[in-house]
Symmetry: C2
Amino acid sequence: MIIIMLMSLETLFAGSRSVYLAAGKVLFRSAAPVSEMFMVNAGQIHLCRHTVHGTKMVLQRATPGMVLAEASAYSDSYHCDAIAATDSIVQTLPKSVFLSALAADPDLAATWAATLARGVQAARFRSEIRSLPKVADRLDAWLGAGNPLPQKGRWQDVAHELSVTREALYRELARRRKGTKE
Amino acid sequence: MIIIMLMSLETLFAGSRSVYLAAGKVLFRSAAPVSEMFMVNAGQIHLCRHTVHGTKMVLQRATPGMVLAEASAYSDSYHCDAIAATDSIVQTLPKSVFLSALAADPDLAATWAATLARGVQAARFRSEIRSLPKVADRLDAWLGAGNPLPQKGRWQDVAHELSVTREALYRELARRRKGTKE
DNA sequence: TCCTTCATATGATCATAATCATGTTGATGA
DNA sequence: TCATCAACATGATTATGATCATATGAAGGA
């Protein structure tokens, strides 16, 4: 009897060590050597880079199920800081274990590559949306990509996703309601 | 004697069929089934999506060495159009061959994943840069990431990368020259 | 019920980039 | 040399979003 074990990224991290991080705690710092890979289990971890002026740029907002700083698997040291945005739990796996699991299991490697490829797609789409100068165009492009307008109470999230102020989005939505009414 | 054959993505595509595309020619259309993977050899291929209003969004500008629409390897049909921006040459490989090469060679799979991971990183960075409201901040972030200001004659490329008009970039550069002079 | 809080909503003002217009410079070729 | 072209440069004007200030409404807790 042959047991086929279909391994997903979640199951790979599932048996691993969990670490609890209070909001604001640092998981790793830029330039530190990469020895572990992290998957977010609960909460949210931000991957940040700082400019000379101290301006903070958030490059990834990792939510449950996401692997943090994917490119670190192929780098010796981190290029960003990772900080818990909320109280969080991350699961950690030695980088070497992570890489050998990928090398040993072509299906898992394909899953990983597919995840990354979709990540590239999503990030490219976000960067193109943000290059549109008008709020109306950003909203059109976002809705046109199949994203649904969420329930009231979650509109600010959309504003943030489109990188406009909530006021600007409220106004655009108001314009549309007015437009369809008459 | 053992010959170790280190396979790169380029070598994988190297022996494959080449296709010449005149500027403006369509390589594939959205919704078409994915049967081939493409690597750009010369020229530039744009991956485009169209909104309801007919606005065109360019999601990838694939230059030589880049694989086009990476995520299509894990999808049955395309979600974008691919159009030659200039006269171009692409090399094509059946998707099944591409995927089995990855499955058969863990090193190649790692190379592919590393490429994708860096693509994610780069695209995330671009989208964050474009969420900065001021030209000065975008330029700072871009220079701070280690990008050098190119020779005169290439400044427009930077303006495009930062998603600002060339005039806005010229003015910002002029401000800086003035600032450092006194 | 009342109070607090947060998301939505909208007006007023301001800052800034886009746009349009025009000029300058430098490289290339006839 | 002159014509041409493209990139750099900059001024004037306009469009648009950010910001600040409030207000409204709904949900949840004391």
